[in-house]
């Protein structure tokens, strides 16, 4: 499954460690929320980056105390149609100021990339190779956005008001 990050297909440096399996002594790991919350301090002390896979049925509040020390948070789209992680992503980025990797996992197709980046995701475990290849092209699909989000894009309304302002200033 290709990983797209910051617009490019890259090698995943994080090793997914299953719940029962032994943690490697160093290196970047990606573990489940349940395992992480068993003893977060011990895990965060190991050498190597920590990433947590956070289920979409659990409030992100429980993760907030550790955000500054996490290198990655992976949110889950168990099906294409289950959009809870969009809200979690915006809360992590916009309310809790999380600035590490925010990864979308599960059923990820190119048709969600724009929504996901607008909600704050910057890494994508993409289901189909062709979709990963099309990432850059897909991101160019839209040039107009109506809603303000943490991605900082200027909304249509603000563009209109700026235009109006500069027009009236020029008169």
């Amino acid at each position: 499954m290709p990983l797209v990050k910051q617009g490019r297909i890259i090698t995943d440096l994080f090793v997914h460690v299953a719940d029962g399996a032994e943690l490697p002594g160093d290196g970047a790991i990606l573990i489940s929320a349940a395992r992480f919350l068993e003893d977060p301090e011990a895990i965060l002390k190991r050498a190597g980056k920590t990433g947590v896979i956070w289920p979409n049925s659990r409030a992100v509040d429980d993760l907030v105390p550790y955000l500054e020390r996490l290198a990655a948070v992976a949110l889950v789209f168990p099906t294409f149609r289950d959009g809870r992680a969009y809200s979690q992503a915006r809360l992590l980025r916009e309310r809790h100021g999380y600035d590490g990797e925010l990864r979308a996992t599960g059923q990820i197709l190119r048709d969600q990339f724009v929504f996901m980046t607008r909600a704050g995701f910057d890494a994508f475990e993409v289901k189909k190779d062709a979709d990963a290849d099309a990432f850059a092209e897909t991101m160019k699909r839209y040039s107009v956005f109506y809603q303000p989000t943490g991605d900082g894009r200027v909304t249509a309304l603000n563009r209109r008001m700026q235009l109006r302002h500069s027009e009236s200033a020029g008169q």
Partner: protein, 551 residues
């Protein structure tokens, strides 16, 4: 009318190009039907019994004549020459080819029409009063707020994959023509004690298998805060709405399970935590949207022109005028409803030729503007009273002057088993039969305002729960049966109808409805007492007795 600018047009075109790519990937097999389904639904494309059905948005029910002509063109070029206006300010085409859909969408985009979010589990096309901006006594034109919400809900990055569909309706009148109490969010525009404009926010209404009337979550939300407040509701719903069971995924179930007080507290907390995230609408933002609505240059006209006085001698004209013409906020003008309910016709259908002709009449008599209401009728919102006789003659020639607005034959009906893959029973033939039974105008006029709503299945697209008489098709041992409810209404006093007894077979429905109407005529305490008020006063028992005593 609201004028789309370059930005709106660009977005619609970008959406068409994305959908073109999605259709291409589906046709090549790159997308599975399961993957494609959600994508096509977000563009209003259903797979129905016989073909693809294509639902086009008419935001807040306002159309220009140019747009209506383009809809006629799509009906002719890509479909079978007609379209069906629905209960949610949409038009549906029933026989469209998947491979041609991107072209049809591109032709619509050309005149500022799209099909975004007319289906799927996202925020649907925002609906409003079809008389918005012209009804006397309105707080202000609710379409300004509808448009603000239309923009905000379009391709929303957080709420495009909700637990279920989500519908918002807005009214700014005392009399609710937008049926806000049966929507996921209902917004009632009003002014507070300080004269500021804001909204009573209602939440959790809806029909379907678990019908609920919406409850007030907050009596006053200032206009500037409406986007953030709606966003807070949606965020709570997106996180806590059930996804384990499609039948329990609507916000009405969440509100019901938590209770409105607890749900309101959750929303309030989310709203407070949200803080200022750029959603507050300052005066200039609201004015920016308002400035792009244009209004007709009305003339100064007499209240009662000579043309109208003369035409009053014609009883056929008078009958139509009394039935179809409503007061306008500007003296000398009227709002004219065009009935899409001819005797024997499928409710809400219009042919391409009729659409073109209505567009021409709108240009001639209504400043080029047309409205679509949830009762599946059209309206011309700015007709000078002096033009009414001429307009009537033209409408009559087109079959659009049936004087039955709000009468017993002004039936709301879903497409039912004739088109819909979900339906258990037919709706259209029942409606057609009833229009024949009550075709005599004098009888219908004597009966007075009486709304019959028909749904072919529990999903309630025909809003049967809130019909004064509701007819719901069910299937029993492979046969079509119909449950009858009475006493429902969708206005500011909205309530669900009450079942009168066991379901009746297809062949008996029209007889039963006639029995109910006869019972009402015998039971009402004066001719002005509406059917629905008689039911309220007496309950269902006397009607039940009349219907089942001989069956």
């Amino acid at each position: 009318m609201y004028a789309y600018d370059e930005l709106d047009r660009t977005l619609i075109n970008e959406r068409v190009s994305e959908f073109r790519d999605q259709v291409k990937r589906r046709l090549s097999g790159e997308l599975t039907e399961d993957e494609f389904k959600i994508l096509r639904l977000q563009n209003g494309v259903y797979l129905q019994l016989h073909a693809y059905m294509f639902r086009v948005a008419i935001p807040y029910g306002t159309l220009s004549s140019k747009q209506l002509r383009r809809l006629a063109h799509v009906a002719r070029r890509y479909d079978r020459g007609y379209g069906h206006f629905t209960t949610r300010q949409n038009i549906q085409f029933n026989w469209i080819k998947l491979a041609e859909l991107p072209d049809a969408l591109a032709e619509l985009a050309d005149v500022g029409i799209h099909a975004m979010q007319t289906s799927g589990n996202n925020m649907r096309n925002v609906t409003s009063d079809q008389w918005a901006g012209v009804a006397p006594g309105e707080v202000e034109d609710p379409r300004i707020w509808s448009e603000i919400l239309r923009q905000h809900t379009t391709l929303h990055p957080e709420f495009s994959f909700l637990p279920r569909k989500f519908k918002i309706a807005i009214t700014a009148s005392e009399h609710d023509r937008a049926a806000i109490k049966i929507h996921d969010i209902g917004l009632r525009l009003h002014k507070n004690a300080d004269g500021e404009t804001g909204f009573e926010v209602l939440v959790g209404g809806g029909l379907g298998r678990t019908p609920f009337i919406a409850k007030t979550i907050k009596p006053f939300v200032h206009g500037r805060d409406i986007l953030s407040y709606v966003e807070a509701i949606l965020r709570v719903y997106n996180q806590y709405g059930r996804r384990d069971n499609i039948y329990k995924a609507r916000i009405k179930i969440l509100v019901h399970e938590l209770g409105i007080e607890k749900f309101a507290r959750e929303v309030e907390e989310e709203w407070k935590l949200m803080g200022d995230v750029g959603l507050t609408l300052d005066h200039s933002a609201i004015e920016e949207v308002r400035s792009r609505f244009s209004y007709p240059a009305y003339e100064k006209l007499p209240h009662m022109p000579d043309e109208l006085k003369q035409a009053a001698a014609d009883p056929l004209f008078e009958r139509w005028r009394k039935n179809s013409v409503a007061p306008h906020k500007v003296q000398g003008y009227s709002i004219v409803t065009l009935s899409l309910k001819p005797v024997g016709g499928p409710p809400g259908d219009a042919t391409a030729d009729q659409m073109d002709a209505v567009a021409d009449l709108a240009d001639k008599y209504s400043f080029g503007e047309i409205r679509v209401g949830h009762e599946q009728n059209l309206a011309l919102p700015h007709v000078a009273k002096r033009d009414l006789p001429q307009l009537w003659r033209a409408l009559d020639r087109l079959g659009l002057a049936t004087p039955n607005v709000n009468l017993v034959t002004d039936i709301i009906a879903c497409p039912g088993l004739d088109y819909c893959s979900l339906a258990n029973a037919r709706s259209i033939p029942i409606a057609q039969e009833l229009t024949r039974r009550f075709a005599n105008h004098d009888t219908a006029d004597m009966i007075g305002r009486l709304h019959i709503n028909i749904s072919g299945c529990i999903n309630a697209c025909g809003h049967h729960h809130v019909g004064h008489i509701g007819i719901l098709g069910v299937e029993k041992n492979g046969e079509e049966f119909y449950q009858i409810t009475i006493g429902g209404r969708a206005d500011e006093n909205a309530q669900m109808g009450v079942l009168i007894g066991p379901a009746v077979p297809y062949a008996e429905v029209a007889d039963v409805i006639e029995d109910i109407v006869e019972a009402y005529l015998a039971l009402r305490d004066r001719p002005e007492e509406l059917f629905v008020d008689t039911v309220k006063r007496l309950g269902v028992e006397p009607f039940k007795e009349r219907v089942y005593a001989t069956r």
